[in-house]
Amino acid sequence: MDRYSQEYSKLKMTTALLQKKYNLYFSMQEILRLVVFLFLISPFILLLTQFKIHGLPEFGDFFWALRNSFVQSLLSAFFSIIIGFWFGLGLIALPKVRWPKLRNVFEILCLLPNFLPPIFTLLSALNIIDPFPMGVFGIVLIHSIMNFGLVAVLTAGIIEKKAGSVIELAFVEGATRLHFLYRGLLPMIYKDIWSIGLFVFIICFQSFSIPLIVGGGRGTTLEVLIYEKIRLSGEWSGAVFLSIVQSIFIFLISLSLRNTNKSTEIKKSNLQLVQSPLALVFIFAFFVLYFVGYLDGILSGIQMVSTFYEYQSGILWSFLGSLAIGLTVGSASFLGLMAIAFSWPKKWFTQFLRGYLGPSTSLACFAFLILGPNGGLFSFLKISAVITLLSLCNLFRLGWLSEMNNLDSQIEVATTMGASPRQIFREITFPQIFERAGILSGIASVWACGDFAVSRILANQDLSLGMMTETLMSSYRLSQASILSLLIIIVGLMCYLFCVGGSRVLGRKFKY
């Protein structure tokens, strides 16, 4: 053995002894868990090193904002559940096993308002609803429009998976529709409905742009109050304090979330007893209105399209910028989701991801602004990092949690039988989750393409279509802004397809 090999084995032995003595052994899983955890709480760490919390913010403002946040989230969740449940009964009138394509079209329609940047829903609603009710009611209205489609898709899936055969039996036994809904279906799925409601509540609680614009000064929420604290007098300590309180509040609420029953394969069942074709008509009518409202703004913008001619190179660069940001966020989210999957399961980590709300948008942006140089490629990287950070917790709640819950028992069996974490990931976890990871990271990339709030703080110039749209809106040119929003849809779609396609290619390359 040469000298170097001896030194190396000596070092290895010393390390092993130290690890054993002080319990310093970190597996790859633990390291990844720690990396994800630190990444998600990094804005708080960064800000707390810069600003000490001295004194509490004024309680009058705080309680007012907390009450508004609570009321609007509660009402938004309530209406989303009520309408979403009914629309869900509409969706099951198109059984997946019989009309899979038509059902997919309706599901995509339902999910669009939730996945498209909020500006689309806002433009559409402001064009159609006149006068638009500003304040808490307006916030609830927009949040409900954005979320009831998602509730409908989730509810329809749950009913088909969990209650299909019972519905068929009740139908044969002659139960009435109302009686079955009240005595049979709701008791069976109330835990799932509660989980979905809580999910919508959390989304609405941390919503920023909708309360800021539609609140009209009447419905200041905690997120808006944090933004105001920073903007008004640079009250950083107050803003950090509010953000921490908000996170703790949501974390406590999330403790009531329990794992729901594992879902099973959808079987062909007769769901006639509960399905509602009328709701299907309403879904269609609603989305016609949604798109008409949006197209109304586009049509007035088309008359101004010639003014874009001299800015075509700028538009092209912004298009590429949006594409780059979208793809980076999509890829980073994919990696983040995979890191979570690799380090699954761990109780504290699961509970943290389930309940962690993330910092407010403006806080996260300013935290990254403090960190290192800005401008050029740094701005681009920081924007991508912040959007990934803000998206990751939502993606987890949006579908990753249930996906991972479904794998719990398989991972448990494999671990008991002695499989290594790497083997479990390669042979059990990855093959079953890569498609869902592609879809979720695709959604994050769509969010990133439409972003302007994060980019506006972190970038030194218009980098993306979202920023360009915002610049247009701030300089009288609302019609042209509507036209550019069409390009956001195109680039969003490209990023989404890249993420979904990329994940499939990865799956195939791994020969699954």
């Binding site: 007012w64 800021l212 660069w317 401008g375 490629l377 110039q461 247009l472 701030s474 990329g502």
Partner: protein, 346 residues
Amino acid sequence: MKHFVLFVTVVFIGLSLALLNRTNQGGDLAAVPILRVFGYSTFTGRWGPGPLLKASFEKNCKCKVEFIEGSDSGILLQRLRIEGESLGADLVIGLDQFDLSKAMSEQKWRNLSLGKLDTYEAVRPAFSGAYFVPYDWGQLSFIARKEGSSHFPSKLDELLLPEYRKKLALQDPRTSSTGKQFLFWVLDAKGEVQGFKYIEALMEQAHSFSPSWSTAYGLFTSKQAAMTFSYVTTPLYQEIEEKKKEYLSLKFEEAMPVQIEFMGIPDFCRNCELASQFVNFLLSSEGQKIIMEKNYMFPVVKGILEKSPFAAILPAKNLQKFKVPPTSEVERVLKRWTDIRRNTLN
């Protein structure tokens, strides 16, 4: 697998290079000095005066002008405070009279040396400061639609008439400079005690208090609100750029608010001489004309807007006097407004 990784890598490298190339357009930047101008996005962006000013200045300065964008004056000050020298700004552009006191207390600024200028009376007092110089100004008022009404309010009290209930798209004074202008206009016109009573009564008339001018203006143009508080040049923009003649700015009996926009050179500037040259260029006939035509604001120097459509709407009298309110005063007033809004709308 290798091909896929290669493909993804090529896509990312390509996009990154494209973005880098975009920020470094113009070739060898090390050869010429770079003047970095920090301003709000509507000034520095494609549709603002920034690109034309840059092109024109670069013809003679043997330098490059680079813009650093902040979304508005609030963000400009925040970033200056947080990033300081590392921001690399040689010139800050876009502060208004409500920002000056704060800007002075948070940063050190350089003395400006200007040539002799023939300026408008409304902005002349604003030239008395040593560190900040105005480059444009605008008068604010309510903008309404011509159609659908034969009578428009001509004094502040008339805004409280029942017909305007929930019809005014206003801005939040804490986040919007135009919102701040409106609040201080009311307090100036009515005195503080009566002014706040008026603000309290006005809460019911407000359709909304938007976070920015653009949101309030958007609500007005989408016909959600009957009037909005904006610049008197707004109808002119609509007429010239969008060929629409449907808006008009209202005249009020009270002395009308004036917003003056300033620029200043921070003490940590690297190309201070170039920054000073750019300041003088912005005050030249060429610079002032570009600012007027692209920013839709009035020039501060006389002899620019004559024979232009701006001449017809140039306000000559009944304007508020220029003053720079101290930061503590601004914060106190905004705090009071916050309390009123919370208690009234609660």
